[in-house]
Each structure stands twice: as structure tokens, then as C-alpha cells.
Symmetry: D3
Subunit: 242 residues, 6 copies
Amino acid sequence: MKIQLINPNTSQAMTETIATAARAVAARGTEIIAVCPPQGVPSIEGHFDEAIAAIGVLQRVKQGRETGVDGHIIACFGDPGLLAARELADAPVIGIAEAAMHMATLVATRFSIVTTLPRTLIIARHLLHQYGFERHCAALHAIDLPVLALEDGSGVAQQKVREQCLLAKRQDGSGAIVLGCGGMADLARELTHELAMPVIDGVSAAVKMIESLHGLGLRTSKHGDLDFPLAKPLSGVFSEFN
Amino acid sequence: MKIQLINPNTSQAMTETIATAARAVAARGTEIIAVCPPQGVPSIEGHFDEAIAAIGVLQRVKQGRETGVDGHIIACFGDPGLLAARELADAPVIGIAEAAMHMATLVATRFSIVTTLPRTLIIARHLLHQYGFERHCAALHAIDLPVLALEDGSGVAQQKVREQCLLAKRQDGSGAIVLGCGGMADLARELTHELAMPVIDGVSAAVKMIESLHGLGLRTSKHGDLDFPLAKPLSGVFSEFN
Amino acid sequence: MKIQLINPNTSQAMTETIATAARAVAARGTEIIAVCPPQGVPSIEGHFDEAIAAIGVLQRVKQGRETGVDGHIIACFGDPGLLAARELADAPVIGIAEAAMHMATLVATRFSIVTTLPRTLIIARHLLHQYGFERHCAALHAIDLPVLALEDGSGVAQQKVREQCLLAKRQDGSGAIVLGCGGMADLARELTHELAMPVIDGVSAAVKMIESLHGLGLRTSKHGDLDFPLAKPLSGVFSEFN
Amino acid sequence: MKIQLINPNTSQAMTETIATAARAVAARGTEIIAVCPPQGVPSIEGHFDEAIAAIGVLQRVKQGRETGVDGHIIACFGDPGLLAARELADAPVIGIAEAAMHMATLVATRFSIVTTLPRTLIIARHLLHQYGFERHCAALHAIDLPVLALEDGSGVAQQKVREQCLLAKRQDGSGAIVLGCGGMADLARELTHELAMPVIDGVSAAVKMIESLHGLGLRTSKHGDLDFPLAKPLSGVFSEFN
Amino acid sequence: MKIQLINPNTSQAMTETIATAARAVAARGTEIIAVCPPQGVPSIEGHFDEAIAAIGVLQRVKQGRETGVDGHIIACFGDPGLLAARELADAPVIGIAEAAMHMATLVATRFSIVTTLPRTLIIARHLLHQYGFERHCAALHAIDLPVLALEDGSGVAQQKVREQCLLAKRQDGSGAIVLGCGGMADLARELTHELAMPVIDGVSAAVKMIESLHGLGLRTSKHGDLDFPLAKPLSGVFSEFN
Amino acid sequence: MKIQLINPNTSQAMTETIATAARAVAARGTEIIAVCPPQGVPSIEGHFDEAIAAIGVLQRVKQGRETGVDGHIIACFGDPGLLAARELADAPVIGIAEAAMHMATLVATRFSIVTTLPRTLIIARHLLHQYGFERHCAALHAIDLPVLALEDGSGVAQQKVREQCLLAKRQDGSGAIVLGCGGMADLARELTHELAMPVIDGVSAAVKMIESLHGLGLRTSKHGDLDFPLAKPLSGVFSEFN
């Protein structure tokens, strides 16, 4: 099977980070096609960034669908454009926040989230509310560094993630930690080992979820409100969606 | 004061419908600048349409801000791009679903919603959940006609809206009705009179809310998670946002 | 238009504070008729005080209706007697807690509340729950001084409000602050400026909301459970309501 | 022990109905002192009626406290003035809606409510929300007759209650029925027998709850927000509370 | 009347502690039959322990029903086997967590919980969620000692309970405290007196609730989902339930 | 990898049905070890049945752990003993209701549930509440036949499932259907095809979830409240757990 792994931002470095994380868990026979939009935002740290990124996600989903992929992953912790992508696709579409949160509820009664900038916490809060997991989240933490600090090679951001995870373990009374950024995908295994508790990355989680849905023969429902968008003439730069 | 009234779809007819509704209630001294995106979707009936429309909304908000408007209205019942627009603006930004729902809770203990296609009901449900008004909504109704049927001149859609409002009055045990589409803006006053209960249009409601915030000296908070988007180089068609 | 601004307590000083705040934002052509009950409680700091105050509110609403006012404001942060007043009125009725909370959700994703005595916090909590805004409130703070300390001329209470607002800004992760007492109405503008974030007073907010509903032709719904009280002979001191 | 049973309306007939129901279940040694306010509303069918009735309740609670009763019951299904009464009392105070709802959750997973006029349903809804029992209530039914129809001697209202209970049993998938009016207190035992499922009257339920709290040595908490009202000079007709 | 008081663990010492607490509040004429399972777990501090204990509870409930008791109490703070026991019984069945939480909401607007090991907090959280009392609980505290420390005669655990209660009083803003373990049953009266606020033990609370339901003629509903278990041949050690 | 598939009832026929369903989706290299308890209940249709079945589940989990399985599935739609099993295991444990509900939220905005007897609906409701999926469930349906009717070879129960699925598709406004019984596991693929919408079986869903967690290196958290049960001497028939 082919999984289209969409990094919604335009960072090539991050696309590689998540591709590596995805391939590390993909089943034999699963091909990971990692892409990012040709144009958009270099990182996603707010609602505006998400709105821009959603277009790139949708372009890639359309493309993926045309090339016959078996599933799509939206690899940004805000799951930008998720429901729109589900309309556009008929294969399954999974967001990495969604994937990580679901997995966390399966191995612990409550989880903590560790993310990047404080201003992105509201996005995580809204997703918890929308997905039904508010009561399963014990606390949210921000390392107070931008997303791209995870790709600067210094390791500072990674060290801060580690510190916040340790803090969460000590303080929150939760049994698992969700890493709140695609750029943290490479840290999950090591932190799981070091902290002796599940530390969950959404990218790899999403790969397994797509594989699962594929294996079950389940695709995005086209009965009801996730049916394909109604045919209508889009104009301007959006005419590529026609 | 100047209010930028943004129709997120590209229908000129609907832009005029809502402009008329807005001007009918605007205070003396309030100028309504009605715009729609130069490119996008002709009507909004799902999450995909919303994602596309959000870009047009943001373009217009940016433009509005540069020309010094005192507030922005997003005139589509799904409030597409609302939080993103709030980041981009420092004047207040109001969505018409938000405006209508807030007003409804001020004149009735529970309200009904009458909207267009059944597939858009999920958008209204999600907004009720997000805004905190789930318990204030007694029922949702769809006329099962597309948005642009409201602009076809036949009056069929308008008649269906009227029928669903009567049904809601008889059945729902609610005290007010929220019209779930910008294209229904011209029906509120008449239906309020005919049904002898508040029938609320979000476009006019949003005008008064913007005027209110302006009068109170309240602008979108730039402290915290609605602060301006972090400066970063957008690429491609999005570079106009730089 | 005429707005009846009802201070539910009997403090003449506070009636003047709120009248000034109301007039400062009222539209040209809006007349503010500030009243308080001839008899009742000098300040409202609990459920008992509220129950007493509600009667005075209802007396004033009845009087206001007879004299043809276009809207009523209940200017105490617990919104005492709100639904009862809506039954008695056909013009719109707004409580100041309701007004401030609604406005706060329009300019920030989450807000903090700063109120007077800790024992009144439960009233704010119940209103948040009832209005649907629990998730929009990040934290509640009390200055631990009684309501009338705001009118003692010393400025001590005002200073404590300011300190709690600063604390809220630093700690809560919220984007706006709601002032939880009618007696703080005069502080909002200055604090908004000083803190560089929206600090919201319910009295002025309610004035704009009433003006808005009036401008939209929306009155309290008389269809359903806010209809006028059923005619029945009230006895004793309550016979004035017959 | 002495229980003050307060009928919040001024109907002597209803006071007797509830007194009889209360005495039928009171433990040996429990004295039921049934009172109603000397002035107020003859029946309670809305928020206005409740606000008026609350004053009478508070007068009686004060009196009851002065005469040393061991508990107070507010015998109207809206529990008017409950938290205010708890401030005024130090003995326990129970509302009959509260009592019936609590009992229902102990014998069934979900319950139905049968009440009088449709306009009172919102009061029951708000109490379910406030007490935490929304999920435990499967459905609400109204017989569409006013409260005093239960005291007109014709038996018509009683027959309608019976019909709605049968309907609830057939349709709601609930395991118990709560009678939503003090005036229905005499019907519970018979309907429990006829329907072969628990049909619960709040008056008798409240008697047992007060007896329980008394037996446990538990009184209304005076630590925190239910402490006695702050001493302040009430004016006019309210000066009796000083 | 006869109340079967079931200690779900096999500790004879704790069975006596709770029996004493129950008898101290039982009405004249109420016989307390205190039992524990002949086999099971010596203490209950997690979900596994609860699952084991539930079988012992059900054995005792069956036995109690055969000997004609008028009610059953499950005297462990997790209320293990509560709904299963209600199916098996037709007399009322009450859990002590349920009983204590209900009582607490009647004397305070919010309560705190003080329990034993931190790992049991999740059980209390789940019960609060299931019973509808999440908003009524201000905070949860654990003394971080196992259940049986309460029976070791040293008084250390009792001292820790007292300390946590004092902490809760100072910090939580709640008006009552619920003791979260049957083994704390003997502490409630004394702590209520010392702290001058209601400190509630579920064992004694449950006794009064059973007496109340009995006095009201209310039994576990056999209409619907709490009806007797469908007759089916249980095998092995469970055949005693046939 | 080895997955222990536990049928919590003692029906050999149903154990085979679910084993077949599990094997049909298991990845190459996944071994399904289908077991049921040697003693217990022949079918599970209520809380009592669940409590009995939980012991058998725990016995099998213990056995599975000792033989080194990589995950455990509890194949009854009430997920009996789930949290207890998670304490006992360190491999992942998944319930089939949980698995099906999670999967449904990934392919549709809302889902319907079709289950067996009406009395089991409350179990599904409680799980929706506990897992956070109440808002994602549009409606619940019961075929009103016992679980074992699915194994009687007549096809009547299967036909009723089909009818309820069609009804759900027409009426509920949901995009997917969850089959609410392990005994329906063989129907999902065919109904998905016939109804042209996702019809989800929890058994196969759980297999993929266990495989996913295994592939991610995620095991049940032993940090916090799902840690192994505290060591304590179990007595009688439970001593096998020592």
C-alpha cells in the first residue's frame, strides 16, 4: 500500500524528519510518499498558518488521490484541513494530533501533551474538545521555542522537550505523553525508553492507523457530510481543484 | 466607522443581499464596505469549500486592515477562517453564525437553526460545540436546497425556509430561530413579524456586534494566542501575505 | 431609544458609577435611565442578596415597561432575576455578567474573571456553566474585598483589581479580562490601555448589546418559556405586580 | 426532629397535599411543620413566579431557623431560592426537584420527568444541568395543565399525569419516573404500583433526605460560599430579614 | 428493616470499622448485617482489585436477597459491582462513593475528596464523571498510604487524612470533604467537628440512603436495563449464581 | 507477533466467529490465539454478566501474559474488565467497543450503533461517555434479540442487523455504523459493501489496533494508575491470580 505523508509546512528538513519516523514503523509493503506543499508557510504556529497550510494539504490530497494512494496523513499537530481533506479523499485521512491522542487513550487513563510555542496550546485544546478527549488530557506543556528550532541542529529544543516530559511525568499524574509537533517525531522511541512510560509521536501513530483502516477495508465515508465536495467552478489560483 | 463585510464566496448576488441587510441596520455613520474574494468558491457547502474560502477571507481582512477598517465580518454561516482572521486583524472580527447564536441566547432560552443542505449541519453542530451553545440549540433543520438556490429569483428556497421556520416553531419548544446562511439575511425581519418570534440573521447581528465592540474600544486581543501571525516568509501565491 | 439601567442594589454611589459608565458608551440618541430599587440590599455578595435584589429588579423592569423603555440592563455581575425579568419584559433584558462574557469570547479565545469576594466566585461559575462559557474561562480571581469597598473613595479596592488583572495577564494564558462587578465599570478603559489587552466591563457592554438588539428589531421572545407570567393574583407586598 | 416543609406558593390546598405526603413517610419522631408564605403567588409556573416565591421561602426559612427546626424543604419542583435558603439556614435545606432526581439516579440508570405546563420544562432542564443529571434524564413530558389543576378536585390532571407516565414507560427507555410538581405528591405510591416501576415524588424524598442528613449530623456548610449572608442593613419590606 | 452492609474486601478489621460506623447512624429498628466475601482481595486499590471484589459483592447480594434483606450497601469507595448488584437485587443497592458524593452536593456547592493511594484517584474521577458530579468536585487528594494502613493501629494514616483535610479546607475553595475510603468511616464525625465543615463518610451516608429508599417504598427498578439478569447457565465456580 | 483474542463469554461458536473475523484481517506474521474462559456466562447481556465475564477475561490475560503474547483483545462490546486487564498486562489491551468507536470517528463525523438487546444500550451509552465519543454517536439501535441468536444458524438475527443498519442509514444522519456485538463480526465487510458506507466490526478493528501499538513499541503504561496490581494475597478461587 501507499501512504501519502503530507507535511503541511514547506520545511524540507521537517519533511525528512517525519518521513524517517514514518518509514521506521511502516509495515513491509507500505510505501511512504512524503511530500510538502510547493508553496505555503515554513512552519505552523497559529490559526493563520494553519489556514494557509490547509490549501497545500488539499492540493497534495488531490494529487495523492489522483495517483491512487491508499491513505493520507496530515503531519502537523493541529491537523489543519482534516475534514476538508476527508471530503476530497475517499481513502482514509488521519491527522497526527488525532492519531497520537487516540493511541494515548489506549495505553493510559490520562495523558500529557508537550508542544512548542504557548500560542499553539489553544489549537491542542480545541482538538481535545472536538475529538472528545478533554477529560483524557491531564495537562499541556509548551517548550516555548518555535517549531523550526527542532530543525536547527543545536539539540536545544530537543533538550527542552525532554525536560518538559520529565516535568510532566513528575507532576501531571498522567500515564503517557503526547508529543505535540511533527518535528518531534524522532524523539518518541528514545523518550519512551528513558522515561519508562509511553511517549507518543503522531506521525508514526498515523502510519499505523492508516494501515489499520486499509487492512479493514474502511475508507472515508462518502455517505453524508464527508461526501466529495459538490462540483462547482473554483476560480483563480483555486481552479486547479476543478 | 467602517465595517468590512466579507462574503467568503464569490457570488456577487449574495454579496449584494448581505450588503443590503447590513446597511439596513448599520448606525448612522457606519459605512459598510461589502467585498467578496476575487477568486474562490461560488458557494460554501462543506469543509473543503470553507478551507478555500478562508484564504479569500484572509486576503480581504489583510486588505481591510491596510485600509483602516474598524471591524471585519465573515458573512458565511460556518464562520470560515474566523480565528485566523482574528490573528491577522487587530480590529474586531465577527462571524455571522457566532453573531446570530449569541443574539439568540439573549432573547430566548433555546433556539432552532434553519439552514440549507443537510451536509452543512455538521458545521453548525461543531460551531455550537465550540462556542458553548450546544445546550441552547433545541434542533437543527435543513431545507435541502443548495445555497445558491436562495439567489435564483424563484422564491422556492425562501418558501422552504419559511416552512421550516413554521415547523420549528410548532415542534422544537424553542423561543427563537437562527437563519443558517448569509443568503437568508433578507428574510429575518419579515419572518420575525410573521412568526411572532425572533428570527435572527447573522449578517445584521454581526454589524451591531462590530459597532458594539468599536463603541466599547474593544479590539481583538493581541495578548496571547490571537496575536499577529509570527513573521515568516510565505511562498508562492501566498507571498501576498508577507 | 431609552435604556433602563437597573442597579440591583440600593447604593446610590454605585448607581452613579454605572450610569456614568453607561453614558460614556451610549450612542447619540440613547437615553440612559439609571435606577436602583427603593428598598433591598446595599450590596450583593451571595445568593441571599441576589434573591432579595431580584424583587427590586422586577419592580423596576415592570415600571420601565410601563414607561416604554426599549431595553433593560441588570447591572450586577450575578445577573439576578434575569430570566424572570425577561418574562416580565418584552423589550430585551441583558445582565452585565452575560454581556461581559459574550464580549470577551469575541475578542479572545479564553478570558479571566476578576471579582470581589471569594464567596461570589460560585455565582460566576454557575453563570459560566449556564451560559455555555466554562471552557472559555481560564481562571477566576477575587480581590477579597466587599463590593462597597469600590465606593469608599480610598482607591484600595481599585488597586487590588489592577493587581489581580496583572496577575491574570501573567499567569492565566488568557487573552482578555472580565471585571466581575458593576462597581468596577469605570476601570475597564484605563486597564485595557495599561495592560494592552481587553479588560471588559459588563455595564458598558450591556448598553451596546441592548442597542444592538434594538437596532435589529429583536425583543425578548414571547413564544414559549419566556412569555409573560401567567396572570394570577399576587398577594401582600407583591400585589403591586398585579 | 422538626422539619419545616415550605410550600413556596400560597395555595392552602397544595400545602395540605404535600403535608400529607410528607407525613406519610416521616419517621416516628419526625414532626412536619407545613407552611406557605403569607403572601406571594398562588402557583409557580415560570421564572417570575419563582423569584416572587423565593422571598416567601426565605421568610419561612428565617422563621424556621429562629424556632429551631432541624431542616427545611422547598416544596416546588423548581427548587426556588435553594442556595439563598442554604445561606440563611444552618440546618440542611433540600429542594424537591433535587430530592426526586437524586433518588431516581439510585434506582434506575435513567429517568423521565412528568411535569405540568410546557413552559416549566426549561426550569427542569436548568436544574438537571446544574445538579449534574442531564445524562440521567431520558426525556421530559408536560401534561399541559396548570399547577392548580391538580387541586381542582376533578381528577383530570391526575389522569393526564398517569397517561404521560404510561407514555414515558413505553417510549423513553428509562427505568424510573420523577413527578415534576409538589401537587403530584399523592400520586407516586399508586403509580409506582400500577406501572411496576419507581415513580418518585420529591416531597417525600426530601423528607427522607433531611432525616438522613440530620441522622448523619450533617448541616449546611458554613465554610465558604454558603456561609450566612453578610450582615448588611436591608431596607423597606425586606427589613424583616435584618 | 435489615441492611446488608457488604465490605467488598476480605479484611475483618475493616468490616468491623464500617459496621460500627453504620450502626452508629442506623435508625432504631434498622439491623445492620455486616459481611465480607469469604474469598477475594484483602484491600481494593485498583481496577483489578475491584473486578475481583465485584464477585464477592455479587455473592453477598444474592445471599442477602435470599435472606430477605431490605437493602444492600457496597462499602468500598469505588462502588465495585454497583450496577451488576442492582440487576441481581430488587431491594435498593447503594455504593458508598455514590452516597457520600450525593450527600456532599446537598450541603455544599463544591466538595473535596481525600482518599488513600494516588492510583485510586482515577476511580474517583470516573465515578464523578459517571454520576454527574465532576463540576461539584473542587479537588482530589491522596494520603499516599495503602488502604490497610488505616487498620494498622498506628494512627499514622488517620493523621495523614486529617492533614489532607486541613489542606483541602485551606486551598480548595470547597465547602465539604468526602472521605474516599470505607476504612475512614470512623473519622467523619470528629473531623466534621474539628474542621467546622461537613466531612462525609459514605458508609453512614449509605445507611441513611437505604433507609430513605425503604421508607419511600422505592426499590431498584426492574423495568428496563436493571432488570434481573437473563436466566442462563453459569458454569464452574460461578454456578452458585444459577 | 501473537495476539490473544479473548471471547469473554463461554460460547465456542462465538469464539470461532470472532477468531475467523480476526484472522481475516491479521497481518502476515500475526498469530491469533482465540480463547474463551473455561467457566463463566454463555453470553453477556447486562452488568451482572459483565462482572462474571471480567474474571474469565483476567484469567486469560494472566495466562496470555505468562505465555508471552504481544497484545490482548477483549471481544465483547461492553469491554468488560478493560482497565483491570490493563493493570494485569503490560502488553496492550483493547476492547472491541473501544476499537470500533475509535475507528468510526476516523472515517465519519458521527456514527450509529446497532446492538442486540435494548438492555445493553446503557452499556454502550456509558462507554461513549467514558471514551469521550458521546457527541460522535448520532443514535443507538437494538435488534431486540439476544446475543446467541446470532449463533443459531437461522440468519434471523443477521437479517435484523441488516434492517437496523438500513434504518440507521436513512434516519440518523450519520456516516458510519458500529456493530455492537462480537457475534456480528462476520457481517461488517458485506454490510459495508451493501450500504456503501463504513460498517465497523470491533474485533477486526481491535486486531489492527493491537498490531499498531505493537508496531509503535507502545505498551500499556506502567507509570501511574495502570501499573500492575499491588501484590496482595488473594484467597479462595482467586488464589490462582497470586
